[in-house]
């Protein structure tokens, strides 16, 4: 990647955490450039939450190094520019949403004038303005998740950690999370999204890391992942061995089985040319279907069916 340290929101080298005999994170090496929406994917127990906690200074690494916004992980000044929504968000539920947001803003050093402006606007953003007189202990799970999201944004952070942000949210809430992530990216913020909902990651992230046993197995640009090499299913008659061999001009991994042939092309742009070639060879085509590899399939292929259990 060769990014300069100033361009990176997160940088880790061989980050490791051992709890007693249990290795939670074995060796995490990661670089997340500023302004990117980065997805952290992995099965349950892969070490995603522990990694996030190490980056925030909640958990001390056993070894390795981590810098966040150019400062060592856990640095108090850097945290002023960080927003965090924990996976199991708990808080002082005796507060009203306004008091709650003001408290979290004050703890992050946000001036009173800015708080007076941001608190109502954030309550509006997460749809809680009609409930601002209630105490948080009267909130539903979805409403609590929304106020948690608002507190993560109260300091207009440069880096936002969202750990399972759509947990407990209805479809409307999930859409809200997606919109907020897009807004934050447009503002120039970096977002680290930790989620097991792959469809959510698919539509929001620029890049993803696949993690298993606390190690990054692969990091990929999501566009490459979804729009890169494409498997194509062809059903046709009058296919000669020479015609199939001729497909090698555009395709690779050609597997023929009677009327059915599967091959891989670099992108869908070449398909009209392939079809013209086949017709020119006298082939009778019944079906040409690009097979997009979903993030879920990629996940299972990289991480494995057992999910690392």
């Amino acid at each position: 990647m060769n990014q300069s340290p100033d361009d990176l929101a997160i940088r880790t080298r061989d980050l490791r955490k051992v709890f007693g005999r249990k290795v939670a994170v074995s060796s995490l090496t990661l670089e997340v450039p500023r302004g990117e929406v980065f997805g952290f994917l992995g099965p349950n127990g892969a070490g995603k939450s522990t990694s996030v906690k190490m980056l925030l200074g909640l958990v001390r690494p056993t070894s390795g190094e981590a810098t966040v916004l150019g400062c060592p992980a856990g640095n108090v000044e850097a945290r002023r520019k960080i927003g965090f929504l924990p996976e199991h968000f708990r808080f002082y539920d005796w507060l009203t949403p306004i008091e709650f947001l003001r408290l979290h803003g004050r703890l992050n050093g946000v001036p009173q004038d800015d708080l007076s402006r941001r608190v109502p606007s954030l309550l509006d953003l997460v749809g809680l303005t009609p409930h601002c007189e209630k105490r948080l202990h009267d909130f539903s799970k979805g409403m609590l998740q929304r106020i948690g999201l608002a507190q993560a944004l109260i300091n207009e952070p440069d880096l936002i950690f969202l750990d399972e942000p759509t947990s407990g949210l209805d479809p409307g809430g999930r859409r809200l999370v997606r919109d907020i992530i897009k807004e934050q990216r447009a503002r120039g913020a970096t977002v680290l999204l930790n989620s097991h909902l792959l469809s959510e990651v698919e539509v929001t992230c620029d890049r993803v890391a696949f993690i298993k046993h606390g190690e990054v197995l692969q990091t990929r640009q999501l566009r490459t992942l979804l729009e890169g090499e494409i498997d194509v299913a062809l059903r046709a008659r009058k296919l000669s061995a020479e015609t199939i061999q001729g497909l090698e001009h555009w395709a690779s991994s050609i597997r023929a089985n009677g009327e059915r042939v599967r091959f891989t092309v670099p992108d869908t742009e070449v398909l009209p040319e392939v079809v013209r070639y086949l017709i020119g060879c006298g082939v009778e085509i019944y079906e040409v279907t690009p097979q997009h590899t979903s993030l879920e399939e990629q996940f299972l292929e990289i991480v494995g069916e057992d999910g690392g259990l």
Partner: protein, 280 residues
Amino acid sequence: MGAWIMAEVTFREAARKKLLWMALLAGSAFLALFGTGLHFQLKDFASRTSPLIARQGVDALLMVGLYAVDLMAVVMTVLTSVDTLSGEIDSGTIQAVATKSITRSQLLLGKWLGFIGMLTLYLALMVGGITALTYLMSLRFLGGVAPHNLLRGMSLIWLECVLLLSVTFMFGTSFSTLTNGVLALGMHGLAFIGGWIEQAGALTHSPRAVNVGIAASVLMPSESLWRRAAFEMQSPLVGAVGFSPFSNASVPSVAMVAYAGVYVAVALGLALRRFGRRDL
């Protein structure tokens, strides 16, 4: 700044959860009961006893009242603060706060200061209430009975509560809420029985029993602070008589008070060190 925000939050939490108000309500009920008892005692003294003996009787009742306040303050200190660290660590509540631009030391010290504010208010109202009641009610008949050295005595009770608060914080950084409560009150119980052994030893001239009591005070000096407070507040006559349930045959030294101060600093220091290093 962060510490003051946390102190304010701790104080507001106690008020919002009605903890503070319930403690003050229970304290008011206690004062009402004490006042009623004192009223009848004074009435009976006025008809039957000389003012000199009556003064000793009122003095003794005042010491009983102050002892009850001391016990209530100790229990309130432990019960209200026992959950503040361990509970928030267990539930994960602390994660949203500890990831803000506040150091862990500020977070812990802020909570500690918030509880100190509460116990100071509680002690001022309770000790002040019981002293004012006794003085005003005995004013006509006895010219006003008051603790001998009120401020010094109250400061010692306050230090006792601060000590227990710091010990509760120290255990709260390592143990669960229940374990923390058992440990903090258990240590106070140890100091309590040690104090009685020391007094009984002094009365029966048993230096070894006195040493056992002193050893218990070294382990946990909370009860010795009350015994020093009782010594400071009791009337000189009761002091001269010697042993009574609320005076002292063996008075803890000023060195023991200083030791308690060091104990607070060490307990708080260990709490800060452990809290600063542990995973949340």
